[in-house]
Point group: C2
Chain length 353, copies 2
């Protein structure tokens, strides 16, 4: 797609491993399940329907690469990782995972996806790591699945933003946070398209997906979680967000200023005083990855405002498979020590790799 795609680098060419931390997969049955949901018109979500009508059947080369990549946790993916200089990948069930399904189907498919991943990862246990998929539709079952995944050896939890328009700041979901905190396992909050009562102004101009709507949906969700006091209730909870923190790092000053103003003026019943500022939660409870943003100015800005210990590498495979991006990021104007944190040791710490 770009000139950089021609420049490849080898694994082992630098004094750090490259660990990619937001890499999508799915069992083939997930795509079949989405097709059935769409054919039955069973999902009340225009953005989901638009996106998967396109992704399931588009003949475009980009979509074929994505679908081939998603269903491989084996040779095809390892070859592409080798070509891109990626040593290890942390795999998570692609968005929206089971979160568009009916409750019982969602609980069952999440468990199936975790078993499938666990089995497939055995093809290269030193290169593949995984996160536990859950069905927030059933918070008690989700908490149990987090435990099961943790004891299987999975390294965190994946949640693909809203579930049928509901957000995790609603206390009915807080068993999920309790389980993750108790086990010391991180929750990766991944994008999906905005829900039906938000998406119209995005859809009209093709802005609902990765170009913009994903980021808005996910940053909104993360802010709802912070403002609801989740990290005051669960102070040891760790969360991870991709795409350079979905622009929250860019907004730290304004978020702190306006959150304080909102609390002082008591405008909202749902906005109470917190123990710390929004930027403090971002620096102490949240890690970010650069998935989909192989861009030195953005990466360095986030390191500057959050700290070099908070920013991790991710490619966003197979959605942004750019074999040359690693060579470009290897050349960032950044110390080798900071590059090692970015590419390797921050991920080792957060995901116990």
């Amino acid at each position: 797609m770009t000139d950089q795609a021609q420049i490849k680098v080898a694994r082992g060419s630098k004094p750090y491993l490259r660990i990619a931390t937001e890499e999508g997969f799915c069992p083939p049955e997930l795509l079949t399940a989405y097709r059935k949901l769409i054919e039955k018109n069973a999902v009340d979500d225009p953005a989901f329907n638009t996106m998967f009508r396109f992704y399931l059947d588009s003949p475009s080369a980009r979509v074929r690469q994505i679908n081939n990549g998603l269903v491989s946790v084996g040779e095809f993916r390892l070859k592409q990782m080798d070509d891109a200089g990626i040593d290890k990948a942390i795999l998570s069930l692609t968005s929206p995972g089971v979160q568009v399904m009916e409750k019982d189907d969602a609980v069952a498919f999440a468990a199936y996806a975790n078993d499938w991943l666990f089995s497939e990862m055995k093809s290269a246990p030193d290169r593949f790591y995984g996160l536990t998929a859950i069905a927030p539709q059933d918070p008690a079952a989700a908490a149990k699945e987090i435990e099961r995944g943790h004891h299987m050896g999975l390294r965190g939890v994946i949640i693909n933003s809203h579930t049928k328009g509901e957000y995790l700041d609603d206390k009915k979901f807080w068993d999920i946070f309790a389980a993750a905190e108790a086990l010391g396992t991180p929750i990766y909050l991944h994008p999906q398209t905005p829900p039906k009562d938000m998406s119209r102004p995005f859809l009209e101009r093709g802005l609902d997906g990765a170009i913009f709507g994903f980021a808005v949906e996910t940053s909104l969700h993360m802010l709802r979680i912070i403002i609801a006091g989740v990290f005051d209730r669960f102070p040891k909870l760790t969360m991870v967000i991709g795409h350079l923190g979905e622009a929250i790092p860019f907004w730290l000053y304004r978020l702190d200023y306006m959150h304080r103003a909102g609390v002082v003026s008591q405008r909202y019943e749902s906005m109470k005083p917190l123990k710390r500022t929004i930027s403090e939660y971002m620096k102490e409870n949240v890690y970010i990855t650069n998935s989909g943003v192989a861009w030195e100015p953005g990466i360095k800005f986030c390191q500057q405002v959050l700290g070099v210990d908070r920013v991790l590498y991710a490619m966003d495979y197979p959605y942004q498979y750019e074999p040359g991006e690693v060579a470009k990021l290897d050349e960032m104007d950044m110390s080798d020590a900071d590059k090692k944190k970015f590419f390797q040791t921050n991920a080792e710490k957060v995901f116990r790799v």
Copy 2:
């Protein structure tokens, strides 16, 4: 509100003027009009109703300062500008202006607001400059009002994002762009709260306003305008957005990548090839101000990725009246030449001050 509020600076203390470029005002009758609209339940917009029920009657000190500031284009405001070290202010009708009114009322009130501003500005013609308010509800009348304002000596056009859920990328509004381009006068796209079919997930946790929803609404609107090809049709049109570009500078890499992917895959009928990349339009047709974001890391990041000629100073008076913020920004680690562009000469160029 903060320690910096205690540190004041004098006008004339530095080798540059300080021109604040996104400073709100309204004739007192606008607040009366909003009160009537709310009492009659005439505006089908939950975020507008929530916000103005609060702003019209809250006893909080912050809201009293805002309302006193809004209705003064004279002594009260000049004293506050003196205290903050601001030499000149570019005034614009506060959000959402007339854009919540019925068409005929909106057209009439926009003209009234422009006449009121023109008259009040005479109290200090070397310190006050203004933008022309319009009613997008009637694009032909809006185009005429842009001409009338221009010939009165106003220096640009203010539009407070969506009009009853409609966006300016709809071709029915393009007479507005044609008029602004023909006169060489900039359009300032200012935030308002998201429309009714977008705002629910924001409102539930107090995120609809300046803390977050404003930025999402306005960046979405600006991206819709770019992707619709407005700058291909009107290549000499200049637009301005505040709040450090509403985070669009942070997203330049991802926007260019995903716009190209969307065009190539032909996923959306409403996303056609453009002559330039999104980041090129941002660097060539759009200026940004730092309204509400008195934060060195964000300002310098935007200067880095857009160029020092594209970033202008704004205080966002009276919403963020911080008399000490200028002293803090005076001390940014930045050359005097670049500070002069930021505080003075970029504004002189864009708004013909």
